[in-house]
Symmetry: C2
Subunit: 413 residues, 2 copies
Amino acid sequence: MGLIVQKFGGTSVGSPEKIMNAANRAAEESQKGNSVVVVVSAMGKTTDHLVSLAAEITQKPSKREMDMLLSTGEQVTISLLTMALQAKGYDAVSYTGWQAGISTEHVHGNARISGIDTEKIEKRLSEGKIVVVAGFQGFADGSEITTLGRGGSDTTAVALAAALKADKCDIYTDVTGVYTTDPRFVKGARKLEGISYDEMLELANLGAGVLHPRAVEFAKNYGVPLEVRSSTEAERGTLIEEETDMEQNLIVRGIAFEDQVSKVTVCGLQNGLMALSTIFKTLASHGINVDIIIQSTADAQIASLSFSVKTGEVEETVHVLETYKVELGFERIEFENGLAKVSIVGSGMVSNPGVAAEMFHVLAKEQIEVKMVSTSEIKVSTVVGHADMVKAVEALHDAFELSEQPAGVLGAN
Amino acid sequence: MGLIVQKFGGTSVGSPEKIMNAANRAAEESQKGNSVVVVVSAMGKTTDHLVSLAAEITQKPSKREMDMLLSTGEQVTISLLTMALQAKGYDAVSYTGWQAGISTEHVHGNARISGIDTEKIEKRLSEGKIVVVAGFQGFADGSEITTLGRGGSDTTAVALAAALKADKCDIYTDVTGVYTTDPRFVKGARKLEGISYDEMLELANLGAGVLHPRAVEFAKNYGVPLEVRSSTEAERGTLIEEETDMEQNLIVRGIAFEDQVSKVTVCGLQNGLMALSTIFKTLASHGINVDIIIQSTADAQIASLSFSVKTGEVEETVHVLETYKVELGFERIEFENGLAKVSIVGSGMVSNPGVAAEMFHVLAKEQIEVKMVSTSEIKVSTVVGHADMVKAVEALHDAFELSEQPAGVLGAN
């Protein structure tokens, strides 16, 4: 007996049939005697449809009106899911973000949750109701509808779990858990039983795509145990919680990768150290996200600077930099498309300094050229040619023995 | 300079292009120096789509969740219309029913407005903003979303106009005004310049379909001048207000008609007067709407009773009555499909007792059999064969000289 928060993403509620399926999941937990709060996203392609409607009206919709528009998506899902639960004989009630008491800062399009008044939800739970809450949305200043931006429904679920002191937050999705790497590309990819918040954070940030980094960070800060699991398969998923002994013997926990990466090099920088901050401030003010940054100094005055961006943003990056060429003070810009980023992640790295070296060794053996490198305490990222991406992931997956079930937890399922 | 409330129905905001057009209408009034509040319905087929989604989940959705679902429809429209106004350079803001302060009784699916807190809207108007409000919806008990049922957006517009003491409420629709009869059927149908609330009420109730009776009643009670006009044509529409001299010389103002009418006769009633109330209570409790009722008494004990219903409800009517045959005490039921109702409306009838007789004379001359008759102070309704419907309307339209411009207001435009 406990309190469970369940979250179903867009693909898990993409049709009336899938909504019925999500209702079954909630009903199962209720049957076990648990109190259940369900958080849902908009149905499948709904958000895309609404965005394209707005695009037919104007290319620059105001963020407030976009929030007004997009927040209807989850409202449709909560009502349908609640109807499904009621049709199955369960007492259930739906709440939008504002009805559920989810306050946010007064920012449109990307608001952060500032507090949750849980009184109403707790009252409904104590009456034995399943409470269905719209993810992704909240309210500010008493009555303004706001949205939380990308990964917003994950964040709603975790924040509600934290505020309600839930025993667990289950993230239902279209995969069965968090894998050592993407199983669509690497045959030996294995589902992890457990992973720490920090590792999940690196994997989430690195494009594993199962769970939004904001939600993981929130869960870490409030100690909410998460489980990523399939909305259609019955099997256990992957538990995300504070560092445990589970699979501790694994130095590398997973391998993330993404393509559509480009490398931009600014050559002949004249302003030395100042250039660094000026260039990235300029790019940031134009909304361009820079990932890996490498500075190589030829002599004290003339240096060059490389960084990676998404390939889709190369053109604007070059345009912005050329516009400010005089102020920034450089000779020329070079760029290389068709690259990919491959990263190994694992909290065991902190105490194993040889991991990066082992990674480079594996890549060298496969004759894969490493074009950029970036490291943190629990990850090493490399930029390689797109053609080498899957080969690199497979070789690393083998070398770090990720396909094998760790001895310590064999049979734990 | 004044305050105008504009209302755009589903077909007038059925596409992004039509929403842009509605924005132009609001902008025009704003340009003239008027304060403008715009009330909108859900886009075209949106409500149907939402209803069919719910039907895929359950055949008996709860009314609360249907309100939650359907109220998203207008929310989409208010955001898109506001974006359109902003794109044209106008300062505008959208409000859902609850944000606009529209309180209703706590009934789902068919709530009545209990009050409007206009403070927020008035503040926005004083800041020079065009305020765009979701029709059809309100809130009860502080945070429960309710809807107003059929014709709800018309009612929202009129109620807002009353609460804001607006100078006028313009109902934009896909016709250019209120006609003497349906111009799709009768060539000589003429647009009326003015009509009284009561006359409009009878026409609205009789299926003219331009404006919901509830809204007309509300407008009458609060003295809100209404104009029904085209959302695409620039011409003046039809003004609806308290009895004026305008066109007063016309005894009959318009002719309404509808088909799909059936006549049901309950023969051999044994319980005399009691049967009347028992039968109609029974039918009402099964949601069957009875229109014209005629009782003919053969002797004090054995009577027969006829009434008209929509043809689509005949089957259930007969089924319900047969189920309670013993309690109701009758011999047999007869019914006749393929009928139509034709009504003449005009407040001048009150002081012209010969109008009904003139109507029967016209129909008799055309050899049209009148199967049922019902009268009120300002209308006479007849039930005729469907094949005679248009012929009856044309003959009456001619006989009461509705095609001709009344002398008193010629050139008033």
